[in-house]
Amino acid sequence: MADININTVNKYFGDVHVIKDVSLDIKSQSFTVLVGPSGCGKSTMLRMIAGLEDINSGTISIDGQVVNDLPPKQRNIAMVFQSYALYPHMTVFDNMAFGLKLEKRSKDEINERVNEAARILQIEDYLQRKPKQLSGGQRQRVAIGRAITRKPKVFLFDEPLSNLDAALRVQMRVELAKLHNELEATMIYVTHDQTEAMTLADDIVVLDTGIVSQKGSPLELYDKPNNMFVGGFIGSPKMNFISSKILSKSSDATEVDIMGMSKISIPKMSASSSEGDSVSLGIRPEHLVVNGDSDGSWESKVFVVEKLGDVTYLYLEKDGEPLVAETEGHSEIKVGDTVKVGFPAGRCQLFDSSGQAFK
């Protein structure tokens, strides 16, 4: 009903090329999250879809119609801003009714829609208050409510939760997921928080300096990152990268060494690689096996132990190579102990010197 097609879009701010030939297809009624570090162009992408920024070249179409030259109000979109951007002089009701009044809807319809949105967001009791009388979470609800009342085809969220405290953020995250199911609208959500991305998204688009690094479902990105950037960005704590060398190649696996301590044959291939090439071996902390049997292993002293209750993170180092490993919550390992960490071959990723992943 409202597919969004972005076709080789470019955007310059002065001489700075912020969006470089980006093409994206966003399916109707999907929840797409744009993630990336600050300055990667994700907010600019969203603002271009909203019509708040011009496009230098390429096309954006919503529902089959090219919207490059349409003003925001004709694009059938609603946007929720990071800073809420409520109208300070209006009551909550008027804030939510503003767009409808501009569309010249009847009084009854406005009342009905605002009350409906207020019910969904549980802000019925605050309708007559001014924004300054509300807490941060309530203000964010009003901002979302303002978007809902207009029943747009596309919702755009620009880091809507980053001003909330941690507990509230988790709660609002769940509510946003619920809202998406209820409203059946296309939602595009910008965040730098990879937890939000993983939990909310149908599709994640990872942006890196104006280029789409990878697009896919959360687990696709987690299991099969296209490159080191995506591997490092998705997952917390970060994926470990260990520099290594290719020892030999076979038809379905590549054998590399792990810091000269052991060899491991990883079932990944790259046609362009050859023996002796420097590669990076990537493995997530939660996939390392501490003091157990595995395909390859490494021994090191523990420098820091972080006990989180459900898991324990061990910070290790060997010849300048740091490594984070996850183990069970009630681990007996202390700082200064020597542990053996095992590398299960099936969980390892390989990246060539330009950062591209072996398939």
Partner: protein, 287 residues
């Protein structure tokens, strides 16, 4: 013990500042209430309360006319400059165009021009304006020529200042509020009317009061461009109050006149000081 000394020190400093600022005003109020001979005896408290100076000014002198003239000039000037500056401030703070910062700089530079530098040129223009005006309108409304010209020159000198101040205020309104309104479907004009105007009201009041005080106190142009007693503004009116004989300075009447023209300003400022600057966008964005 130290705390007590601190307090004494703090309050005595405050007292000195207050006395320094308020005493002249207090003394003029007191003088204005005294009869002609009592004025010349230095004292801290009035020896008699005598409304004769006020009676003279309000009922036997054309002072009320000068107040009306000043009110007219101030109202017209302030409304025109604020209206123009409001729109100018929007474009200077929100619309991207080439030479915007240059334009702002020029405005600032213009507001530094001393009045005296343009006075002669202005006077020549005034004469031309008078000719032009007399040719169009009949004699009955001739009296307002000077006042209209004053409005024009004051507006000219006020606009750089009000534009500058309002631009600064408008830059402080978060851009997201405007963008939210754009996404909601509002046109630029509607945003200026329904979103910016209510948010900017305290700022507009502040600027209007400052502009009004400037017009209210202006003397040089008012003296140059007004010729008859019927179109004097208050500053000139006060300067031209004369005594019963040539060598008498009528201190009582002058002080009474000063009090009459100062009190409205003090009252306006006191009434509005709570609204001035405070809470421009409270609650709109985070924090």
């Amino acid at each position: 013990m130290n705390k007590v000394y601190d307090k004494i020190f703090k309050y005595s400093l405050q007292m000195i500042v207050i006395i320094f600022c308020v005493f002249p005003f207090y003394y003029s109020v007191m003088t204005s209430l005294e009869g002609s001979s009592a004025v010349f005896e230095p004292n801290f408290f009035p020896t008699e309360i005598n409304p004769k100076n006020y009676n003279y000014l309000l009922f036997e002198h054309n002072f009320p006319q000068t107040i009306l003239n000043s009110l007219f000039v101030a109202t017209v000037t302030v409304s025109i400059s604020i209206t123009i500056s409001y729109f100018a401030a929007w474009s200077l703070s929100r619309v991207n165009f080439k030479g915007r910062s240059m334009f702002l700089f020029v405005i600032l530079a213009i507001s530094m021009f001393p009045q005296i530098a343009v006075l002669t040129g202005m006077y020549q223009l005034f004469l031309n304006f008078k000719d032009f005006y007399f040719n169009i309108f009949d004699l009955r409304v001739k009296g307002v020529t000077s006042l209209l010209w004053l409005c024009f020159t004051y507006t000219m000198f006020n606009i750089p200042f009000t534009v500058w101040v309002l631009t600064t205020f408008m830059k402080g309104v978060p851009k997201e509020i405007e963008e939210a309104a754009i996404v909601d479907g509002a046109s630029s004009f509607l945003i200026l009317r329904k979103i910016f105007l209510p948010i900017m009201t305290p700022a507009i009041f502040t600027t209007a009061i400052m502009a009004m005080i400037a017009v209210w106190n202006e003397f040089l142009f008012a003296l140059t461009f007004t010729a008859t007693n019927s179109d004097r503004t208050i500053t000139v009116g006060i300067a031209l109050i004369n005594g019963t004989i040539e060598y008498e300075v009528p201190w009582g009447s002058i002080m009474a006149a000063s009090v009459i023209v100062t009190v409205p300003l003090v009252i306006i400022t006191l009434l509005l000081q709570g609204r001035i600057m405070s809470g421009l966008t409270a609650g709109s964005i985070k924090g």
